[in-house]
């Protein structure tokens, strides 16, 4: 199946937009992807192997976080996985900042 790689992560897939992997589940596809492109791992997963909060993974048009079986959802060769980092921000100060910083 195909895994679509967003522009900022293509540095780790030798510039490839899509990576072909062989897998029977979402997790299997992600594992296979990371095996093919090991440097991707730390960009997609935290140290305890959880998907980073700003990394969205879509199975075809569905966010895997909202699939009943999430990462364990079965996949076939015709499915497509898309990795898409989030886009957000704003002039507001982050709640993480203890002191308001000038923007």
């Amino acid at each position: 199946m195909k895994v679509n790689i967003p522009t900022p992560l293509r540095a780790y897939t030798k510039g490839k937009e899509t990576v072909e992997v062989s897998a029977s589940s979402v997790q299997g596809a992600l594992d296979a992807l990371v095996l093919t492109a090991p440097e991707l791992k730390k960009h997609l997963f935290t140290e305890d192997d959880k998907l980073r909060s700003f990394v969205n993974v879509y199975l075809n048009d569905e966010d895997i976080r909202y699939l009943p079986q999430r990462e364990d959802t079965a996949t076939t060769e015709v499915d497509e996985l898309t990795i898409i980092p989030s886009i957000a921000g704003g002039s507001a100060y982050s709640s993480k900042s203890p002191v308001p910083l000038s923007c």
Binding site: F54, N56, I84, P85, G89, G90, S91, A92, K96, C103
Partner: protein
């Protein structure tokens, strides 16, 4: 360097005026080469942060995926994003920085003061990982070729009008 046409530049600034006092946001499709990012298409996106739209923005991943798909058909990539700062300077905020994850992409910010677009700045997200990412000021190169043509044709039309006016 971020290159874009005058029409695209005006379009993303106008978007910020339309959504004022809320933040607008959108996606820039184009190409990246040694000279930097070139915008070929500006896609307006909805701001999903209805809870705090005056000072936050978020683009639905579905919109990003659609843009990426559409772009690929035309040989274009996502090369940047834009948003507005209603009554705030056109500088990235701490929130912008923390939530920026598209390395190599341009983040364009327009300050909207009292509903009027003021300064538009672009910042390139340098680095290839969260640990070493940094925003760098990026020059905007606005291509006015089409604008000059319009002015020229407008002028030509005016002179025709004048000649016609002379006859009567």
């Amino acid at each position: 360097m971020l290159r874009l046409t005058f029409a695209d530049y005006e379009s993303l600034r106008a978007h910020g005026e339309e959504t004022y006092p809320h933040e607008c946001c959108g996606i820039l499709l184009g190409n990246n080469d040694s000279a930097g990012n070139s915008v070929k298409q500006v896609i307006r996106a909805g701001n999903t942060r209805s809870d705090s739209a005056h000072n936050r923005y978020h683009i639905a991943p579905e919109e990003l995926i659609r843009a990426q798909r559409e772009g690929r058909k035309a040989g274009l990539d996502i090369i940047g994003f834009y948003h507005s700062h209603p009554d705030h300077p056109a500088r990235w905020s701490q929130t912008d920085f923390e939530e920026a994850h598209w390395f190599g992409c341009s983040y364009v910010i327009t300050a909207i003061e009292q509903g009027q677009a003021r300064i538009t700045n672009s910042f390139l997200l340098k680095g290839t990982s969260e640990d070493e990412k940094a925003f760098e000021d990026e020059a905007l190169e606005i291509d006015v070729t089409g604008v000059e043509e319009n002015v020229a044709s407008h002028a030509a039309k005016m002179s025709v009008d004048v000649r016609e006016g002379d006859k009567t």
